[in-house]
């Protein structure tokens, strides 16, 4: 949390082995790892400890998603042979109270006092580079041997005429709502837009979701995006793909948005608009020029595979990095930076098997390569697909929607990547990430014993399908040889 009234920034103990700007996940993980390794660490934060992940990102969104899933299940009770007594009324203030409680509980773990007790010099204030090896904060100059910029990002404000005047929500303030909007327009069908659109729909909003691309989650596999589209529609969301929001205006108490798809024009009147069209890196005001760090206002700070910036002493990690394909790899990035900056490490980001997940229902998780990427690299790929409706536990749980697809190099069990669409895809993908990190192939996964029944049986079934296919081709080969004698 921000400074308590009694908080005093420590006196600088320069030069720091590692000076970190930004106490989001990337900064915090790096700070803890560095101080554990015996380094002298300064951590500078201008706002709330925990960054957007804790305060208005991963944590509050997952908390609200949980409650919204509960409401969905209550409405589906009959399907599970259950009955909900009386009507189902959403108590929105109670939902938000739970979000705040969870946020407060988790922020305890990374409180200023705890960080200070670990030996981290925590400075609250706006950090600015004063030179290639120094930063100013609150009138103090802090010197460093190595630095990490982990200042994160902020919501992009789309230049839609009338939007600013009408007012809108972003992830920065949506969790401050005290009333559930009856009608909500969500602009942006990326992870944030889809997760929140579904959560609000389940909490009772009439949601319209607009995405300018022809499918949601642009980088995901077509089938995954298709399943998500169906799921969102089932939650009653009015979906407009391939659609632009061209103008917003206020009419009485309504915010009215013009939507254009192709040459069809539509108007929607709503109570609130939530914008989730991506983030812009926090690079302004850091005076990166003074440190010789090249950056781009829109794209962020370019880094190499070791997460170094153009100033070899300065690293960058997390959402502030340019071309960051994995916005959520702060933890891996924080660890890599500490190893490379302080302990002569040569750890590469590209060597990591980094999974990610969009926590809609069903969840959509991915690790490693997509088929298209592999094929573009001329790697022959084969995909072993198990539908969740083949999995006993998914059937007993009434969670049959989705699939596990494991992509392997054709003719081998080497895992190139995987996509999982399932109620708990974020958990299921871990087994594949583990296999990839440890260099295990599908043969090895087929031998893993699992309790029965579990949904992760889907992964073992995919591995089993691989083993069976090898046996069949070996048998065919053997038969051909035999018969040709």
């Amino acid at each position: 949390m921000t400074t308590s009234p009694s908080w005093r920034n420590p006196d600088p103990r320069g030069p720091y082995h590692l000076l970190i700007i930004g106490a989001g996940p990337a900064g915090l993980i790096a700070a803890r790892a560095a101080v554990r390794g015996g380094a002298k660490v300064a951590l500078i934060e201008r706002n709330l400890l925990g960054g957007s992940c804790l305060n208005n990102g991963c944590i509050p969104s997952k908390a609200i998603i949980r409650t919204s899933r509960l409401y969905r299940e209550m409405r589906d009770a009959e399907h599970f042979g259950g009955r909900v007594p009386g009507g189902i009324a959403v108590d929105f203030p109670a939902v938000m109270e739970r979000v705040r409680r969870i946020r407060a509980r988790l922020s305890e773990r990374g409180s200023a006092e705890r960080l200070a007790a670990m030996g981290i010099d925590l400075h609250f204030g706006e950090a600015r580079f004063a030179g290639p090896d120094s930063v100013t904060v609150g009138g103090n100059v802090l010197r460093f041997k190595k630095a990490l910029v982990a200042t994160g990002a902020r919501p992009v404000r789309p230049p839609i005429p009338g939007l600013e005047e009408a007012g809108y929500l972003t992830y920065e303030n949506v969790f401050d709502l005290t009333e559930c909007p009856q009608r909500l327009l969500v602009i942006g069908g990326g992870p944030v837009g889809c997760e929140l659109a579904q959560a609000f729909a389940r909490l009772g909003s009439r949601v319209t979701l607009v995405e300018e691309d022809p499918m949601f989650l642009g980088h995901e596999e077509r089938d995954a995006a298709q399943l998500l589209s169906d799921a969102l529609a089932r939650d009653g969301i009015e979906i407009h793909l391939d659609t632009q929001t061209t103008r917003v205006r206020v009419e009485g108490n309504d915010k009215v948005a013009d939507l254009v798809n192709d040459d069809t024009k539509r108007t929607v009147a709503v109570d609130q608009i939530l914008v989730g069209v991506g983030t812009a890196p926090n690079v302004q005001g850091l005076e990166l020029e003074a440190a010789g760090v090249v950056y781009d206002d829109a794209r962020g700070i370019p880094v190499d595979d070791f997460l170094r910036t153009t100033n070899r002493r300065i690293f960058a990690a997390g959402d502030v990095c340019a071309g960051n394909r994995f916005p959520h790899i702060e933890s891996a990035a924080g660890r890599i930076v500490v190893a490379n900056a302080l302990f002569l490490g040569r750890q590469r980001l590209s060597a990591e098997a980094i999974p990610w997940c969009t926590f809609t229902d069903p969840e959509i998780a991915h690790v490693g390569m997509y088929v298209t990427e592999a094929r573009q690299k001329n790697i022959p790929v084969k995909t072993f697909t198990i539908l969740m409706h083949e999995v006993d536990r998914a059937i007993t749980d009434g969670e049959e929607e989705g699939f596990v697809k494991v992509h392997v190099r054709e003719g081998t069990g080497k895992i190139l990547g995987a996509t999982v669409v399932a109620s708990h895809a974020g958990d299921l993908i871990n087994e594949i990430s583990l296999a990839m990190s440890a260099g295990l192939d599908l043969h090895a996964l087929a031998r893993v014993n699992q309790p029965y029944p579990t949904q992760s049986q889907a992964i073992k079934m995919a591995a089993g399908a691989y083993v069976a296919s090898r046996r069949t081709s070996f048998r065919t080969w053997l038969m051909t040889k035999w018969l040709s004698w």
């Binding site: 089938d223 192709d262 298209t372 084969k382 409706h389 399908a465």
Partner: protein, 424 residues
Amino acid sequence: MLDDELLDHLQRGAFGYFADEANPANGLVADTSRKDSPASIAVVGLALSVYPVAVERGWLTREDAAARTLVTLRFFETSAQGSGADATGYNGFYYHFLDRESGKRVWRCEVSPIDTALLFAGILTAGAYFTDATSTEAEIRALARELYGRIDWNWARNGKVAVAHGWKPENGFLHYAWEGYNEATLLYVLGLASPTHPLPAASYAAWTATYQWERIYGCDLLYAGPLFIHQFSHAWIDFRKIRDPFMREKGSDYFENSCRAVDVQREYARRDPNEYGTYGPDSWGLSAGDGPGLRTMRVHGRERRFFEYTARGVPYGPDDGTIAPVAALASLPFAPALALSAVRHFLELYPEWADTWRLPSGFNRNAPGADSRGWISEGSYGLDQGIAILMIENYRSGLIWKLMRNSPPIRTGLKRAGFEGGWL
């Protein structure tokens, strides 16, 4: 009824659609038999392919078929091409839907490369079939060559590698491009073979780079959800034993792939993951087609969402319990016994379909309809009737396949796409 007799009925019944729905003045054929339906250029392509079948089966005289074909080709030759909003086509391509009388664009629809490809599959079938020295047939061949040469396939790439889904004068190219395996094989083959504006070979390679080779329900196949994708290019091209680099890598071919697609469809129907209770070994065929309409309702205690016309597919959906009976019938060359068994089953459920022998676009026994047997799509769709005739014919005599094996654009296009082996 013997299989052959059944197929006779189905083929002849479907041909009735083209006899009823074609405008003799310009050859344009209605998209559906419903009132005020515009013409669809894809259905015209099917009609042009169906006429040779009609001659061979004795439903039309050769002269009549040639005359119908010539009227159609002359219409496409003389109709307005241009970027104006009410032209008939642009850069050699045509708008998807046309007014049946005036031949002008309707519904502010798109210039459609895939539907143009289906139209040209028909035009080239006509060019390959009408080889007599009569002036009518000579003109058909000349027009087929001329029209085909007029198409600027490269324009349809919009500066990218792959072909765009369409273009509208109001706002240019649609955002979609052909990605993943779908019915566009025919489009690429025709585009690659163009004598005037051929697609670069790289465009086919770029498209096939988006393919997914999957093992689903124990079956290895190049995945595409809706069954029609596994059928449309096959109406004209005999894919048995010819292989492009992708299929060589996988040790399969597109014909074999469609056979496997039938297996996957039936396995999905057997599992019936959404518990519709109306699928079975003879009740399968999820494909593009009409649906009960966009609505959500409780059926037997469960909330069900139904869709309108959409491309339904397995195993990832969408699946609202609607079966496209023609999708099963058009699987005839790939799985004759299974397709026939399914069609017999449909006719047992709906004996009145034998009144016209024209299968409807869809039926859904969970969605409310006129009686307890659920919803049935009204009238018939030209695409369904056309593909039914062609696939039955290919199964029975291989007529269209044989014709097109000798069509230079098909041969050249396949070769440029890297196909080898078999009859090629």
